[in-house]
């Protein structure tokens, strides 16, 4: 049994060092929801090139896209597809290389559909790789983000219902939805001259 334990420890080390795989920016469920929610069957994608620092110096693990029907290029909606580390094992309080090893195996990928005014229409998690907190992938729970327009703060236990056993993931996704919504609405759309009055 001791030999087995040693082998497992070596495997753990190897496994952690493998790191994360890339984000799928076109998951099937996203294409399906764009078709279902917006009636766009043949979307034209245009990535919004974000400035490197975004004012906060935080590296963003995701991309914003403007999406429109090919025949209606000026009728844009917006999509964010990104990754959130759910920060167990000290992953998000660690720094640099330590963070990359400690935190990067606990993550989930999700998307936000934004209307043309940059308010949230839908949030869906399509790849959940954290060990706990899977309850946040429930579409019923995610529905409470619909209508969020970045003017308030999202507070788990307040205007966002807490989930027993999924505290870390609930805080992580609420914080990310708020940050990305505010970024799109207050920084990116005005910068591109697309902000609606």
């Amino acid at each position: 049994m001791q030999k087995i334990i040693i082998t497992i420890l070596l495997l753990v080390n190897f496994g952690v060092l493998q790191g994360q795989e890339g984000i799928n920016y076109r998951p099937k469920v996203l294409l399906r929801e764009i078709s279902k929610q917006w009636g766009i069957g043949d979307p034209q994608w245009s990535e919004l090139r974000l400035p490197a620092a975004n004012g906060s110096g935080e590296r963003i693990k995701g991309k914003f896209f403007a999406v429109s029907e090919r025949l209606e290029p000026n009728n844009r909606r917006f999509v964010y597809v990104g990754r959130v580390n759910s920060c167990r094992g000290g992953g998000c309080s660690a720094s640099g290389e330590e963070r990359a090893v400690a935190g990067d195996f606990e993550y989930f990928d999700y998307f936000i559909l934004f209307g043309s005014d940059a308010s949230v229409q839908q949030v869906r998690v399509f790849n959940y790789q954290a060990t706990h907190g899977q309850e946040i992938t429930s579409p019923q729970w995610l529905r409470q983000f619909s209508g969020f327009d970045g003017t308030k703060t999202l507070q788990v236990g307040g205007n966002v219902d807490a989930i027993s056993g999924a505290t870390i993931s609930a805080y992580a996704i609420a914080g990310d939805v708020e940050q990305k919504t505010k970024l799109l609405k207050n920084a990116e759309l005005p910068r591109l001259g697309w902000a609606k009055e």
């Binding site: 495997l11 706990h132 219902d161 056993g165």
Partner: protein
């Protein structure tokens, strides 16, 4: 001179993604039984102490060496886990189980574990309804015994002796958690059926008196809590709670053993938890415990600080 080094961990495993919904796991695994074993950090449960049934029947923190598969089927809102693990140590020169302590002393916890028969552990959870998580857990197998170490298959007497030192365990757990705004409800039920307890009790007799391990154990709790700060729009949480629980390690007995009513216990726990931040909690509670043989409840005051880091 004997020297040993020890690293205490409650989980340490490799997780390898085969597909997004299918992972291989191997290493020191938390047994997916009930609620508290996997969510045992003090910020995740009410009360200073864990529920009594998560001490006696599901002996948290219950972790063993093993491997298996797990994953989330997001479209169906299902999580599954299925593992083969080394089982409880039922006999390692002395008996590890009895009626009073249930299965608690049998945990091997990874370090220096030994294996004579693999056990199966599995759980399925459904979380498709907002705020609700319902789980069904199962654990099946024979306990381990050091008497099988180096045993010759031709030695019938030694084999019979070793066979008397193990029990078969079939444990089923059903649990539910529900959160709606400031209301938190949770409930848990365990049934553990044990086979071969009569030979085990006689084999592990002390001073001619047979051991008293029951052939079935049951336990339950139901808990309600409410975050009274929620309507006030405060970031802190102040959560009074009440929990009713009961267990019986002599739900059934075999081989002429008489049920000991002292092993049938009821407990009521009520208290407060204050979370100034998501990763920190201050707790205080009163626990009233009464075995069926006692006339009145004994009262214990508990207070504690919990930090998740």
């Amino acid at each position: 001179m004997n020297m040993s080094a020890r690293c205490i961990s409650n989980r340490l495993f490799l997780q390898y993604k085969i597909t997004p919904g299918l992972h291989f796991r191997g290493g020191l695994l938390l047994i997916p039984m009930g609620i508290v074993n996997e969510y045992h950090e003090p910020t995740t449960f009410n009360g200073v102490e864990r529920p009594l049934i998560d001490n006696i029947i599901s002996p948290t923190t219950w972790r063993e060496i093993g491997f298996g598969i797990s994953g989330n089927l997001i479209a169906s809102s299902l999580k599954y886990q299925a593992y083969l693990v080394n089982g409880f140590s039922g006999y390692n020169g002395t008996a590890q189980f009895d009626g009073k302590n249930g299965l608690r002393k049998g945990r091997q916890k990874g370090a220096n574990s030994y294996l004579s028969a693999p056990n199966f552990s599995g759980k399925v959870e459904y979380y498709g309804i907002k705020g609700l998580n319902v789980g069904v857990s199962g654990y099946f197998g024979n306990t381990q015994s050091t008497l099988y170490n180096g045993l010759s298959k031709d030695n019938d007497a030694a084999l019979a002796k070793a066979d008397s030192s193990v029990v078969g365990l079939s444990m089923v757990g059903v649990d539910a958690r529900y959160t709606l705004k400031g209301v938190q409800l949770r409930g848990q039920y365990y049934f553990a059926g044990l086979s071969n307890t009569s030979p085990y009790n006689h084999f592990t007799a002390k001073n001619g008196k047979p051991n008293d391990l029951g052939s079935a154990m049951t336990g339950y709790y139901a808990e309600a809590a409410y975050n009274v700060f929620r309507p006030l729009n405060l970031k802190d949480e102040l959560t009074p709670f009440v929990r009713l629980e009961g267990y019986n390690t002599h739900h059934a007995v075999a081989g002429g053993l008489t049920k000991n009513k002292a092993y049938q216990t009821t407990a009521i726990t009520t208290g407060l938890g204050w979370k100034p931040a998501p990763g920190a909690v201050l707790k205080a509670d009163l626990q009233f415990v009464k075995p069926q043989t006692a006339d009145k409840f004994t009262t214990t005051f508990n207070a504690g600080i919990g930090i998740l880091f």
